[in-house]
Amino acid sequence: MAKGVWIVAEQRYGAYRKISFELASTARKLANQLGEEVCAILLGSGIEGIAGELGKYGVDKVYVADQPVLEPYTTDAHAAAVAKVVKENDPSILLLGASTQGKDLSARLVGKLATGMATDCVDLQIVDGKLSARRPMYAGKCYGEIMVSSFPQMASLRPNVFPAAENSKAAEVIKFDPGVDAGQLKTKVLEIQKDTSGKLDLTEANIIISGGRGMKGPENYVLLEELADMLGATVGASRAAVDAGWRPQKDQVGQTGKVVSPNLYIACGISGAIQHLAGMGSSKYIVAINKDPDAPIFARADYGIVDDLFKIVPELTKEVKKLLA
């Protein structure tokens, strides 16, 4: 019988990504309810040394495959390795991050393991011994409760939503052979062009400051950048701003852009089209700064200021500077 709550940990350049700890501590919570153990799969090259760290977040066993063929990530190599160790151990639940890598890998595993998965979940519970997953659909315009009837029951977790709680265990590290032959791989990473801005991706940021049509032009985003620098925030944009060519595609928040859940979302000069509200509606706190008192964004905002953003934002930057000094 399928048993155990498993996660696929994610590392990049030899360091864990935060989602790995969110996965581990969520798995711990579910495993406690089931009375089962938590196992993690860690893949990469030169990463065996960090395997044990997962114990800090409640993992009992870490299955490690440490080989050059697993670095950098490719779908074929990682999916083959995970499928092998999962089939050998038959877990009841398998969790991954809904990061770009986790989404790519988890979907392939759905095919390899012939199972079902709830994508981008924001809540997981055990109901009658089975996994019940809650996830936004239609970019958050509604939510679905998903039950997976095949094993392993798979779910991917939206980054930044589940707490990473420490729960120290002495994790046992188990090496395994991923059985991946480099000659068989059909995809290859030729180049990694790193973004040198040092900013977190929108999907990972704790604070997002977004600008829309009200910014009036690309040159004015410097106002948001200054506030963002002060707060360690990432700057986002509405579709209008991206389509106008003011901001790059990767900055777009909304139904055809990124769906985000930061602790704080500050919308500047964004009226709040339904597609935009869908993409940021699950943020913990929403601030709207807009001249138009009838802008739909105010109906979603926890705090609203009806005023000219060109007057408010610089003052806010000054105030934040004072507070953080």
Partner: protein, 256 residues
């Protein structure tokens, strides 16, 4: 170069989604149905490859009778033929089941590259492209903003958190399209006229030899959690309002 583009018909992004009172799904009354925007990027890229390298573009869609409009839209853009998988038993199933049906329809036609949207904007599940690739035994490159094809391989750009990857894949493969890949064309009037005469093959699960074994189910659909009413910060001067906002964010919300 034979290209397949998978498309799904979804509610327009303007749609206000209403959940049925019994939580059994969404109320479809008055919904305007359109081609999933990410699939549109896939169709456009398929047409560009055909224009450059020759060959055929086949559109495959799983959905009820109304999904035929979406197939016709793609044919009007310039695709050559369509396959419409229409079977009530396949509606509202899961990614594995849908991909199984798509794979059964695609495996018997020639293909060098298959485009899917990176996700459909209705269920936001983002699984079908990858599962399809697995079932056909071919590689996948997902969430792609640039595609270059030369005979036996394709090179693609895939943005990830904080970086961009240049990935090479052998062909055939599945590519899932992300916004930024291209600007989809509009169907021309002659295109719309021609599309009416282009062949669309209709299939059901039995005709494709697919046994339905549902793996995951949406057991309940819920409206989004209600947000408590917000506060409008009043004041005479911008500085005063900004100061109050900063105080609330620090002391009440505790987020800065």
């Amino acid at each position: 170069m034979n290209v397949v583009a998978c498309v799904k018909q979804v509610p327009d992004t303007e749609t206000l989604i209403k959940v049925k009172p019994d939580g059994s799904g969404i109320d479809e009354t008055g919904i305007k149905w359109v081609m999933n925007p990410y699939d549109e990027f896939g169709v456009e890229e398929a047409l560009r490859l055909k224009e450059k390298l020759g060959g055929d573009v086949t559109i495959v869609s799983l959905g009820p009778a109304r999904a035929l409009e979406t197939i016709r839209t793609a044919l009007a853009m310039g695709a050559d033929k369509g396959i419409h998988i229409n079977d009530p038993a396949l509606e509202g199933t899961d990614a594995f089941t849908v991909a199984t049906a798509l794979a059964a329809a695609i495996k018997n036609i020639p293909y060098d590259i298959i485009f899917c949207g990176q996700r459909a904007i209705d269920d936001d599940s983002g699984q079908v492209g990858a599962v399809l690739a697995e079932l056909l035994g071919i590689p996948q490159v997902t969430v792609v903003t640039k595609v270059e094809v030369d005979g036996k391989t394709t090179k693609v750009i895939r943005p990830i958190e904080g970086a961009q990857l240049l990935i090479e894949s052998s062909l055939p493969c599945v590519v899932t399209a992300q916004k930024g890949l291209n600007e989809p064309r509009y169907a021309s009037l002659p295109g719309i006229m021609k599309a009416k005469k282009k062949p669309v093959d209709v299939k059901d699960a039995a005709g494709l030899g697919v046994t339905i074994d549902v793996k995951a189910k949406v057991v309940k659909t819920l409206p989004p959690p209600a947000r408590p009413p917000g506060k409008i910060i009043c004041g005479e001067e911008p500085a005063e309002k900004a100061k109050e906002l900063a105080r609330l964010l620090r002391e009440e919300a505790k987020v800065i």
